[in-house]
């Protein structure tokens, strides 16, 4: 059996979810989704187009900060990643606060673009490595963006899955519930149940999350790792052993 790291497993799983699409965008501070997107691109021989929003080089935007959202509104972003300080069983995400909103116990940075992108990006992959009853809750304290909407509300996108350090949940918008799709190797269904604050659907024999193929590992550890190092040097060094680059020359300035 192949040796691999947890991060490689997660990236491989996410790359499989991305599927055959035109454009994947990855937000800031998301090295594992970025790895997945770049892996999908390598496997697809250049398709999908990958935008890493944290990188000047790896995105094409020239119309200011609005272009990401305009692009999504045009239907030109097929896959995006969101997370949440809290995520609940109906796919609602909370990026704002815990406790009473006027004087909350905890305050997160804020909703960013989630309240829009969750509605207009066809495949939103929720990604939260911490799998605990603190993060996966029965009901979020603040809905930054709802998991589902009434049928008359314009919505061309939404959650397709939730990937954690323990497992993969698929989201069923019609049932407004997650279904345990697979449990990562060396973890158990009981562990998932014990650490999940929300109810979810489950078949009798939950499969093990598919392991990364030799080909995927080869790509991740080679071309993908080198691309990643431009944007996530520490991650690329730690996971894939890419040597830390010398402090890069500043690109040309006028």
């Amino acid at each position: 059996m192949l040796e691999f790291r947890d991060e490689e497993l997660l990236a491989s799983v996410i790359a499989d979810m991305i599927g055959d699409v035109r454009h994947v965008a990855v937000g800031n501070a998301s090295p594992i989704p970025a790895t997945a997107a770049l892996l999908a691109r390598e496997r697809g021989k250049g398709r999908p187009y990958v935008s890493l929003l944290q990188s000047r080089k790896h995105n094409f935007f020239t119309d200011g900060g609005r272009e990401l959202f305009d692009c999504a509104g045009q239907g030109r972003i097929d896959v995006f990643f969101l997370s949440g300080g809290q995520i609940d069983g109906e796919g609602n995400i909370n990026l704002v606060s815990v406790g009473d909103r006027a004087k909350p116990r905890m305050r997160f940075p804020g909703s960013f673009g989630s309240a829009y992108l969750y509605f207009v990006v066809p495949k939103v992959i929720l990604f939260r490595t911490e799998h605990s009853r603190r993060t996966l809750v029965p009901r979020v304290d603040f809905v930054s963006a709802p998991g589902t909407s009434p049928p008359n509300v314009y919505r061309t996108g939404g959650p397709m899955a939730l990937v954690t350090s323990l497992c993969v949940f698929a989201f069923d918008a019609a049932r407004k519930r997650f279904r345990l799709q697979s449990v990562h190797p060396s973890h158990t269904v009981d562990e998932v149940v014990g650490n999940t604050g929300f109810d979810f659907d489950m078949v009798k024999d939950v499969p093990i999350t598919p392991l990364p193929s030799a080909d995927s590992l080869h790509l991740m550890r080679g071309v993908v790792a080198n691309e990643l190092a431009e944007v996530y040097p520490q991650f690329a060094s730690r996971i894939f052993g890419v040597p830390s680059p010398a402090k890069r020359r500043q690109s040309g300035s006028p």
Binding site: F61, G64, S253
Partner: protein, 272 residues
């Protein structure tokens, strides 16, 4: 006509106590030197509007007691963690936060830019963001059928403040790809820009430079502030100062530490 100020402080006179002040996101050219100057002046009760998020700038101003209200999609230090003074102020109930979502802020500035009283935005319906925004409205799309859609009122700041690579003596400012800075200036009554350096000649005379230039027509004042975005990045010019931001995150975790930071990096003129 725009003024090219000799001293940074002179360029900031339009930013007064209680002012509705628009500032850009952390990687678009944040006027940090100007922000420190405002804190030194003791500015109060700002209504800060982030287009669409903020990081160190908002956290510093909040920690220094300069902000009454902030409208933003997020305040955080990114890979350096939560914004400690923002978080402390919110959990203490000491700051009014108008939570938004990034495209709502972009759209509301564009509404002001276009002289429109409001602008529609998809999404948002069913979120608590919408629930707590009594200044937003939901209507039934007149072109649809039972199709609710959110309308956002235009955002018209009194002053916009940002940092850019260069300006010329006519007050034209080169902003490059940061087009939201143009929208911010168009939407705001007055715009103040700090820049790395002055460009000899007129930026509008060269078609290539002109493509990335915000015309001086919209500019109230310009001041030269080398490394004026420090410790935040200036795109294509310098990266964030990660070591400094780590130090900030550590110090600002406590009120005493934050006071130390202010003393060392804001009130000490040589450091600013």
């Amino acid at each position: 006509m725009p003024v090219v100020a000799r001293r940074l402080e002179d360029a900031l006179t339009a930013v007064t106590d209680g002012c509705v002040l628009a500032v850009p996101r952390e990687n678009s050219g944040v006027a940090m030197a100007a922000t420190r100057a405002l804190i030194r002046r003791g500015i109060k009760k700002l209504h800060l509007i982030a287009l669409p998020t903020s990081s160190l700038q908002a956290d510093l101003l909040i920690g220094a007691g300069c902000v009454a209200t902030i409208e933003t999609s997020a305040v955080g230090l990114g890979e350096f963690g939560l914004a400690p003074r923002f978080t402390a102020a919110v959990t203490a109930g000491a700051l009014t936060v108008k939570d938004a979502t990034c495209p709502a802020l972009h759209a509301a500035f564009q509404a002001a830019e276009k002289g429109m009283p409001f602008i529609p935005l998809r999404g948002l319906i069913g979120s608590d963001i919408l629930k707590y925004r009594d200044d937003w409205r939901v209507i039934d799309n007149p072109f649809g059928d039972n199709d609710p859609i959110v309308l956002l009122p235009a955002i018209k700041p009194e002053v916009a403040l940002f940092h850019a690579p260069m300006a010329d003596r006519a007050g034209n400012v080169w902003i490059g790809r940061q087009r939201e800075l143009a929208t911010m200036a168009h939407a705001s009554a007055k715009t103040i820009a700090t820049v790395e350096k002055l460009h000899d000649g007129n930026l509008l005379d060269d078609p290539v430079l002109a493509a990335g230039t915000l015309p001086g027509f919209y500019i109230e004042a310009v001041a030269v502030a080398p490394r004026g975005a420090w410790p935040l990045p200036l795109p294509d010019h310098y990266p964030a100062d990660g070591a400094h931001l780590t130090e900030y995150a550590t110090l600002a975790a406590t009120t005493d530490g934050f006071a130390t930071y202010l003393d060392k990096f804001v009130h000490d003129r040589h450091a600013a």
